[in-house]
Structures are given as structure tokens and as C-alpha cells.
Amino acid sequence: MVDTTSFWASWELFRDAALAGTFAGAMLGALGVYVLIRRMVFLSAALSQAASLGVATAFWAQVQGAPPWLATPTLGALGGTLLATAIAGIPDRTGRRDGLLGAIYLVCAAGTLAIGTKIVQELQDIESLLFGSGVAVLPDDFQIIAWLALALGLVQLWLHRGLLHVSLDRDGARVQGLPVRFLDFVLVLSLAAAVSVSTRLLGALPVFAFMVLPALAALDVAQNPTQALLISAFLGALAGLGGYWLAFAASLPVGAAQTLVAALLVLTARVMHFTASRILAWQAHRHHHRLQHQAHEHGPDCGHEPVAHGDHLDYLVDGHLHHPHDGHCDDHGHQ
């Protein structure tokens, strides 16, 4: 049984970490909408793994005697992300961009593990940044992610129309003279910053999950892309915070718990989407039949098969029982 009281009683202990997860979930959730619309899920996976490699490399450089102010994990994550972004951005005429992104992901994952074995004392950190098992956040790191979330929120407020336009209709944006390259640059920079800082704090697994799952759920329930951005940011924040709660309650690794909560949100959104679709289809069916029957009168020679139903007679129309009475016609459901 989950003990909610003790979760909140211990809140002070992991408040910064939980809020950092919430901020990361919100900003990555919003950016994930662009990732999904542009069909670049592989890129987000490669970037989060490159950030991991950057962090591992920073730890290794510190062990080798590099100055700590230079070889910081956050700078390492940013460097790794930017390098991966640059490699992924090289024009590709072979049509095998997904293969290139897969290669970046694999090289970075293998590199992180390889470096991890060379710095045994930091192995715990390497595991944390791969799977998101970390539960503590330094005050400086918390400040960084809080300010970054605020900055990216303002960028979204200002540029979301342009960013969505370029993502949804690139040709149209170019014909209309939008600053496509500038908007691409802003998006890539936002992704690089959000991924590198979040990976440093949470690990590659939840970062990848936040970029895919909340957006997947939001696109199922939103009416338009702008709404999807807001919903996705909210769901990302919910997964970030809810993951901490689940990890606390069920003694799970935080990254895995956050991913599971995000996956649960996707499932919920899918059910809502499916239900709404069925309701709409049913309403359209009812409307169609109502229109048909305004000009149709059931009777012995109307062309529909009469079916006995309880104490009255219905007529079979497209598998539905229609019951005419008092000048109108009721749908008595499937036969």
C-alpha cells in the first residue's frame, strides 16, 4: 500500500530533485511535440545518449587531472549534445539518416559504458545518468534547470507559432518567407540545452521518455498543435513529479518510475482518444439515420426487415433496430 503521508513528510529531503524532474518533464514534454511532428524521435534518443557520454567524459577528465571548473558534467553534457547535433546535421544524400542517428546512439551508449569502467569510483554516477537512478540534486544544478525551464518557456511563448509552422509545413514556411534557418537553430539549441542539462540531472532514460511519451499523449487529446504543446508540458511535469512519488512509494529507480508514469499517461490518452472517436462515430451514425428517416416511413412495404422486439415491432436498418412511433423513430440498438 502506498503511503502518501510519508511521501509528503519527506518532501523537504528531495524537494529540489522532484522539482528538477518536474521542470525537466515540462520543458522536454513541450519540445517533444516538435520531435514527434518532425518525426525525429531517433534524434532525441541520440542526443540524450550523447549527453550521457559528455557527462562520463567530464568525470573521466576530472580523474585524469583536468581542472574541475572546466570538466564539469553539465558542460560535458552540453558539448556531447552539440557535437551529436552537428554530426546529425551533416547533409545526407544517401537517405539513411535514421541509420546515422542509430550509429550515434550506439557509439555514445558504448562510450559511456566503456568510460564508466575506467572510473570505478564514479560508477554509481554513470548508472545514474544512464538509467536515471539519481535522487539528489545540487543547489547549483537546481538553479540551472529552473532558469533554463523559465527561459525555454519564454522562447516558446514568443516563437511557438513559427516553430510549429516550420515543423508542420516546411515548404509553406519557406514560400511565405519565414526565417526557417533561424527557427531551426532556435529549436536545435533549445533541444540541446534541455537535453544536456536534464540528462546530467536525471539520466538518459527519463530524458528520452519525457521527449516522446507526453507528446504522444498530448497529440491524442489536443485539438491543435498549440494546445498539444501546453498539454504535453503539463503531462511531462506530471510524469516528472509523479515518477518521484512512484519511486518513493514502490521503491523503484526514479528514471524507471518517471518513464512508467509517462507511459501510463499515454495509455490513458489513447483510451480517451479511442472513446471520443467511437462517440463521434456513433453520433454521426445517429445523425445520418435521423436525416434518412425524416424522409422515410417504416411500414410493411418500406424495404426494411421487420423484427419483433419485446411488445413491439422494429425495422432492421444497417444492423440497428429502428422503432417508429408517435411521428418519430428511435434507435433500439444493435440486433
Binding site: 511532428i37 511563448l157 509552422h165 509545413d169 515548404d171 514560400v175 511565405q176 526565417p179 527557427l183 498543435p225
Partner: protein, 238 residues
Amino acid sequence: MLLHIQDLWVGYQNRAILPPITLTVEPGQLWAVIGPNGAGKSTFLRTLLALQPPVAGTVTRGEGPIGYVPQRSEVDPAVPQRVIDLVRMGVERGWRVLDPLAARRNPAVQTAMRDANVTELARTQWRRLSEGQKQRALLAQALAGEPKLLVLDEPTSAMDVHAEAAIFNVLERLRTDRHLGVVVISHHLALLAKQATHFLLLDKDENLALVGDRETVLRHTAFIERYGQVLDRGGRHG
């Protein structure tokens, strides 16, 4: 002048696929770009819109924006979008996109939706529209930018006869009432023969780029050889 194309060679990777094309689009003209599948029509259109570089030659735009109506398949049905959202995107121009509320304030959105007859569909999701409704929504999007020149890539493919005629009626009204220039790729020769003022007949395999006004092109042997019988039947060509 809305658009002037001078000795334009179109193609890929510095290899031209058609002979050079020179033409000028003036207000009130409807240019029909015709030719068999794979003739180079879309390549020409993309070059004209600066979506791909020319092999050689120049494209000079006149005053006023260009409205572009892509093929319907280019809109992702997996992304939730209502007609009003799609049309609002048409308002964005250049760096004005940095104003997040510009599209909401712009009265051109409502006018464009009225012109394209999609006002009733404003809150309907793109994926629930019929083929004809989708095309009208894309036309409204292009009109929201208050263009002087409309460029349409096969706007009536996969449409029934009535929806097709409705689209061409809207184009005819825009051309005659508002003096918009129109460049359209279409296979519907019967409608084009009545409404187009000029033709550009392309055939990559025959290295052909025939440019001229309607009367000239319809009488040209290259046109009659290809489409004379089709036109006599009053139908479409593939």
C-alpha cells in the same frame, strides 16, 4: 508583372531535365502547367517557388506575396489541426511570425475562409474532412496571406467532378474579380481549356517545354498529338 521566369533550366544536381523556360505571369492570368506523370511539372513548380535551386536562369518575383497550395498528402493527418489553425498559418509572413498573436488579429483569416467556403468547417479536424473540403481548406490557407499570385500543385486530384468544378469556380472568381495571377498543375483539360489563359506543356522524355497563350497552345501539334482526343472526350488525362 507578378512573376518573370527567364531562361530557367530546372533539374537536379546541375542536370537539367527540361529545355529552358521563359514566361511572365501577369495579374488576372491563369497558367495551366500540364504534361504526363513524371514530366517535370512539380520540379518546375518547386523551382519557381525557390524550394529548390535552378540549374540556370532566373526567377523574378513581382510585388506582393505568393500563396502556395500543396498537395493534400503533405498535411500530416496524425497531427491534430482544425481548419482554422491551418488557415491561420497562412497569415505568417517573414519575421512577422515572431508576433505570436498576429494570426488571431488578422481579419484576412475570416475573409479567406469565406472565399474558399470553409467558414462552417472552422472547428473541424483536418483528418475528418473530405478530399474536396481539404483542398478548400488549403486554398483558404493560401488566401489568408492575401497573395497576388496563387500557385497550386494538383489541387483536384482524387476529387469527384463536383468538388473539382467547385475549386475551379473559386479560382476563376479570384482571377476575374481580384485579378490574382494563378499557376496551377492539373490534369483536368476540359476545365483548363475553358479557364486557362496560358499553358505550359512539359514533357521531360520528349525534351519539350511549350509556352504560350491558350489559343496558340491548343492549336499546336505537340498539344494536339498528346491531348487532342482527350479534349474531344471532355475528360482528364493521366
